[in-house]
């Protein structure tokens, strides 16, 4: 069964890894906090594996999941 992704961002070739000189692609990643894991799809460098968490995601969805877990 395919795993459910909590969040997906497709960089559509607009982001570039400066170290490897290649565009970031939509890739599989995982958020982990206090022993809980959430599969997501984020912009990832296909070469070095840099995973990008844009500002809006960090302050929005990620922050609210953090708050919810902290009060568990």
């Amino acid at each position: 069964m395919a795993e459910k992704n909590y969040y997906t961002i497709d960089p559509q070739g607009k982001l570039q890894c400066m170290k490897c000189g290649v565009p970031l692609v939509k890739g599989k990643a995982k958020f982990m906090y206090l022993d809980n894991g959430f599969p997501v799809e984020l912009p990832v460098c296909p070469v070095c594996g840099f995973v990008y968490v844009p500002e809006a995601l960090a302050l929005g969805k990620v922050a609210s999941v953090e708050r919810a877990l902290e009060d568990k």
Binding site: K14, A29, L34, V65, K72
Partner: protein
Amino acid sequence: MAQIQERGSTHVYKVRKISKEEMEQMVARCVYEHPPFCSAACPLKLDVRAFLDAAAAGNFKKALQLYEKIAPFPLVLAMGCEAPCEKACRLNELGDGVAIRAVEEAVSRFGQISKLGGVFRTKKRKTVALFGSGLFALFLAGEIEKKAYPLTVFCAEPDLESFLHSETGFLDEAAFTAELKRLKGKDIQFEFGCALTKDFLEEKRAAFDVACCSAEVFARLYPEAVCDPALMFCESLKLVTGTSAGVLDASFGAKKAALTVDRLAQNLDPNNMRGNEGAVESRLYTDLSEATKLTRVPMEGAGYTEAEAAAEAGRCIRCHCEECLKSCAYLKHYKKHPGLLSKEIYNNTQIIMGDHPLNKPMNSCSLCGQCTVVCPNGFDMARVCHEARQNMVSTDKMPLAPHEFALLDMLFSNNEAFLSRPQPGFETCKYVFFPGCQATAIAPETVKAAYLDLCTRLEGGVALMLGCCGAICDWAGRYEMQEQTNEFLDRELAKLGDPIVIAGCPSCKKELAGHEGLKLVGIWDLLLELGLPEGGHGLERPAAMHDSCGARGDAETQKAIREIAKRLGCELTDTPYSGDRSPCCGYGGLAAYANREVAAEMTEKCLERSDAPYISYCMACRDRFARQGRESRHILELVYGTDAGDPPDISEKRYNRLSLKNELLRELWLEEPREMKLDYELRYTDEARRMMDERMILTDDVIAVLDGVRADGECIQDEDGLLVARRRVGNATFWVKFSREGDGSYLVHRAWSHRMKVVKREG
């Protein structure tokens, strides 16, 4: 770089029990839920407050509905009641108590009768017979009908008029007509003209499930039998009956009797589940100072008109206790009185699995102790919240996030920025000056001036200790960290020869007082003893004194500060809630970290007391008021003629501590401090700086990210052409959006962070 261990998992299923008795004792101190004295005195438990409230608003329909809950025949009760409520009314202490009975009468006369669909209601199956007439029988008939039992009344009277007339001679014609109409509307069967003999009663009752009779019938037919007045029940005869010594007594008796009927109809013991019947005691506290209308509204005719009744009802001050809610922005924010809030917070600590919705409220209290002073019963909300925090920490259920920044700040104060030295030329000292972490962060110049002054004017050597007293971890409920901090400070003090600590801040003084054998004095006391140094001066305009919550209950300190202000030539204006009743600026208890909104409301609450500039003696208060744009000065700034100026941001606070330490090391102890120099140039846009302060991101965090990218080159280019890099520092990942300028420097545009870890996932 100090670190704090994040709690491991949300899957920790243990709780530390708090004694239930202790909690209940605490909760019971709050009298918020006690009834007002008028209702407490009413055996029928009329909600007098709500009743008068509705009447005052001219809503007689609602008022009557409330009254009908206790009175099936409102006019009979209102016109005949002895009204113990009126005697209990608090306004009697100042003038006339509220004429509650007269308002009840007007409401019963003018209020719209509610149509409780008498005949069409579904009836219960069990049947009831009632023998006799009079007030008790009338009320009991009304109560039983209300409970929807099919009821038959056997009376000697020939018709309904005469039945109603029995013992109600005090009703005037209009009232009698109204009550007759009401009685006709009730679903009750009558058999008139009955000879109420023993044989008649015995024969008739056989057809019913429950039998009742009036006091007169009972006394006449069964002179030997006894009735239990608590239940209105004669056990041996299985007969519900009553006594009637007046309207209120008959009414209360009918209430108890109706409950007994109900229990018997369900084959239950009549003692079953009766609750707290009759008048009760109340310990409600009420502030009478705002009561203004102290004389009774006069009556033009025999009773109040609608307008008169509404005006009289409007005199009621709706007795209630909210002393603490009036003065505490935190309690006001959560709109809960401490009794209730404590119960919820204690329950929160006992949740084994799942959400802890009260975490944020328990962390938002500033632990300032104001409520304990303003509450007539000394309710100690600070203790409740503090113990709850410790409890959560002990079971590893306390989130680190709300307090981590403050805790790391404390570790910074007691590591990188820590300084402890005897006065140059001394091995050990008689004194040590302990200005506190906030003073060194916010007003380093003032700290320096104070230290130099103490060194020159005190005999026996004055050491200096720059650090945090441990209040931060204490407030966070991190008791193990607090123990470590205490041991650390004790060791450092021992090295200096266990000197007398000169506290620069009342909160430090309070915190350090917990160290066994430690001798303590406030700098304010010494300054009064030594005399004020040259160069100080007061403010040009009259100013308001804000008392620090660290000095609550410390009248000496409050007095000393005022004396200093006076000697400096300050003119102080009076403010409400000063001295022991002073509210917290919002820094205390780490409220500002756990709940910015509530902390801002606390600051607002402090500032609304006066438009004047504020003088305070805690640097955190000074800082928070200045941030709100108020002219705000610490008493030591005035003493030393210094001005700490605009409030620093979070990074500047750290920088100030470190540079004060380095400056003093260089100038006084002739040591060359190891300073970390960046080997590249780093600048920030104004927006970045503002954003970092708001998001609690330090320049040190940004430097960690840029050091990283300079070492490993890992960064990406965003759509807007700017570069983005990240680094994990402690329990958070920091992201920096920056550009490389032509001159090789870095310009930071944005910064953000998150606590979750993010990793690439295979497959």
